[in-house]
Every structure is written in structure tokens, then in C-alpha cells.
């Protein structure tokens, strides 16, 4: 029996067995970052903003990758990936119609429903914009259910900015505040230079009704939380997405342990008030 057949058979039944997806397209976002579009032979792959899949490449390995597409279009499965090691390099080399095993979606979503009725502040650092993009798609699709919406995005250099065309479109909207900053730039960059936390004082949001969703490197998230708290946001209103090495994605193996929590099962999205003690501890 072929591996492909076994996988399709097992579809939707055993979360440990990958389902086969075909590569539809792949494109470069920045120097070492690309987006890959996958689709199943049949059916769709519903997911919520903030969830991730385990992408499996035969003979190479499996990696957790957040879904970066629109939850309202589950027939188009997008992942935005940085080429780092064996698996992500192999993913980067895939061609149209090549096969990828997909397990998931796993993890809990961003609190998009809970945020209704108030302002929403999204703070993304680097590749952290990828797991937040599905949130923005959802917020914009239900624009009237929210107050002010702000996207604050920090990257290393102008060349490293992801989703440039969409950023331009979002910046052109009257019902969305988009502020972008980079750490390093030469004179021809006309945008902000400085850390992403510096953008927070510039966006008007009501701390009592706002929800902040933050995704990026942990150091960046720590400083961002500090700044959000300084602006009056309560700890319960701040949400972060955490990353840990993973194996099962199901809360079984313990690989992704974060103190008493498992990132795959209890996260990756956490309310800051729930993890604040762990957040300050080194080596967790």
C-alpha cells in the first residue's frame, strides 16, 4: 500500500497521521522568507486565526508552521516560512504539484470574537506578522463589529517587510491605522526608524475596551507588553503567541513544555496574565 493512500485513508481520523496536500504556488516574501500555498486533493482545511499546522516532508522531518492565510478561504492554505534548517530548506525547494503531509490545525486561536465591541491593537515583529495576518483578514471582514483597529509592525530593514503589497493596501484604508517601523534604514526610506514599541503611544486606543495581540521574538514581546501596560491596558487584555520546539502537536510528548503548560495544546496563543510569571523566567 502506498504512503499516499494510507495518509488519505487516515484523513480526519488520526491527528497523528498527515493528510496529503499539493503545492499550488510558492513565492518569495523577503530574502529568506517565502509563502507556500497548499491545497488538498479534495475538501478544505478549516482553521482559526492563530492556529498552526505540522508540515511533514517525507524523509526529512516535520515542523510547526502558523497558517498565514484567510480563515474565510479554507480552500487556500498559506504558510509563510523562514528558511532556517533541514525541513524549512526542503520546503523552500518544493515545486508545483509536489506533496506535503499536513497535520492540524492545532492550537488555540487569537481572541477575535472576544475582542468584538472594542478597539484592537495588533503588534507584529518580523515574521510575527504571518500568524497575525489571519486576524486582520477576519477583523476587516467584520469591520463594523470593532472600534479602532491598529496594526503596528516592526521589521529589521525595509527589505525584510512581509506582505508589502497588502501593507500598502491596508495603509490606504480609512478604517485602519497601520504604522510600520524598521530598526535600520538608509536615507531613501521615508518611514519610521526605531523599535516597534515606539509606535504604541501614537495610536489612539481606549485601554479599557481594547485587546492587544502581539506576535514576534520573545524579547520584542516583553518590551511590547511593558509599553502596553504603561498605556493602561490590563494584563488580561494582552495576548501573545509563543513558540517552542514541537513533535506531536497534541499535548502528548512534552516537547513544547512551557512551565506547567504545553504550547501546542494550551497555546500557542496565551493571555499574558496567565503566563506572566513564566515569561520572566529564563530557560523555560
Amino acid at each position: 500500500m502506498s504512503t499516499a493512500f494510507m495518509m488519505r485513508e487516515a484523513d480526519d481520523r488520526d491527528p497523528m497521521v498527515p493528510r496529503l496536500f499539493k503545492v499550488r504556488r510558492k513565492w518569495r516574501e523577503a530574502r529568506d522568507i517565502f509563502t507556500i500555498e497548499l491545497s488538498p486533493d479534495e475538501g478544505t482545511h478549516p482553521f482559526s486565526a492563530g492556529q498552526f499546522n505540522m508540515l511533514y516532508l517525507f524523509g526529512t522531518g516535520e515542523v510547526p508552521i502558523s497558517i498565514s492565510g484567510d480563515p474565510a478561504r479554507p480552500e487556500v492554505l498559506l504558510h509563510t516560512i523562514r528558511t532556517l534548517g533541514a525541513v524549512t530548506r526542503a520546503l523552500q525547494r518544493l515545486k508545483t504539484d509536489d506533496l506535503v503531509g499536513v497535520r492540524g490545525p492545532f492550537g488555540n486561536p487569537w481572541p477575535v470574537d472576544e475582542a468584538e465591541g472594542g478597539d484592537v491593537v495588533l503588534v507584529a515583529g518580523g515574521l510575527g506578522l504571518a500568524p497575525l495576518r489571519p486576524v486582520l483578514y477576519t477583523l476587516l471582514a467584520r469591520r463594523r463589529s470593532y472600534g479602532r483597529i491598529a496594526l503596528l509592525y516592526g521589521a529589521r530593514k525595509p527589505e525584510d517587510l512581509l506582505f508589502k503589497r497588502e501593507l500598502e493596501r491596508w495603509r490606504g484604508r480609512f478604517d485602519l491605522d497601520v504604522e510600520i517601523t524598521v530598526d535600520i534604514a538608509t536615507g531613501d526610506w521615508l518611514g519610521n526608524v526605531g523599535v516597534v514599541t515606539k509606535l504604541i503611544p501614537g495610536v489612539p486606543f481606549d485601554p479599557l475596551s481594547s485587546v492587544a495581540m502581539v506576535c514576534g521574538p520573545e524579547v520584542m514581546m516583553r518590551f511590547t507588553v511593558k509599553e502596553l501596560l504603561r498605556h493602561g491596558l490590563a494584563e488580561e487584555r494582552i495576548f501573545l503567541s509563543m513558540e517552542r520546539n514541537m513533535k506531536c502537536g497534541l499535548g502528548l510528548c512534552g516537547h513544547c513544555q512551557f512551565g506547567p503548560l504545553f504550547v501546542c495544546r494550551d497555546g500557542p496563543v496565551f493571555q499574558y496574565s496567565r503566563i506572566k510569571e513564566l515569561f520572566r523566567v529564563r530557560e523555560i
Binding site: G125, G126, D183, T186, G191, V193, V219, M220
Partner: protein
Amino acid sequence: MRTLEDILLRHPFLKGLDQKYLKLIVGCASNVRFRAGEFIFREGEEANHFYIIRHGKVALEAFSPERGAITIQTIGEGEILGWSWLFPPYHWPFDARAVELTRAIALDGKCLRNKCEQDHDLGYELMKRFAYIMDQRLQATRLQLLDVYGVHDERG
């Protein structure tokens, strides 16, 4: 229309300052505007002013012959630009260039410096405010130096 005094009174930088000092500072203030691309000050020039940015954006730049102008930081609406007028030798360490049309309030630092020497209460109030800004900028610079989005780090 709001007067210079109104704007200064409401600015967080001067919040809580004694009325007599506010009057003195208003006396040292003037409205200025810079076109996009215009230099507000150049590295090495004498530093005699500081600016409260009302509108627009200013880039602090260092020039390197190999890489051209490198932007170290941008200063935007509501922020304070420049504290070199407070410390000898009173020279600007960087260039400041308006990235877009920028309106600001310029404060005569040279005049204030003398007033601070004569009245240490005023000196302390201003030092306290500038120390706070310097602390904020130092923290931001440290975070920038961490290069958190580099591939050596987790995610990002």
C-alpha cells in the same frame, strides 16, 4: 486658533511645570517649519535649540561615505528633538533631516541654559524631563541593538 502658549501648556513634556517657568519657556519659543528633505541641524554644528515636533517626521542620520546616510531613528509628532544644547561642547552629534513637511516649536536652548544656571530649580525641572526622554531613547536603542529580528533569535 491655538497659541504657542496653549500648545506648550498642553504638552506632556511641560506638564506640572510652575507657571513662572512656563512663561519663561514660552518667551524662548518660536514656530518653525521645515520642508521635506530640509536639514534642521547638521552634525558638528553648534547646538542652540531643541524642538517639540508638532507635525511631521524627522530622521536622525549619520553619514558614511560607503553607505550614504543611515537613519538611526525617526522622531515624530509630539516628540522632543535634541538635547545637545544642554551639554558641553554644545554640538550636534548627528544630522537631523525633515523626512516630510514638519512643523515644530523651536526653543532657544542657549537662553534656557543660562536661565538654568541662574535658577537651579528650573534647571532641575528641565534636567528631570530630559533625563526621562534620554532613558526612553536609551531603552529603545538597546532593544534596537539586540537585533531581535535577526535569524539567530527565536521567530521574527
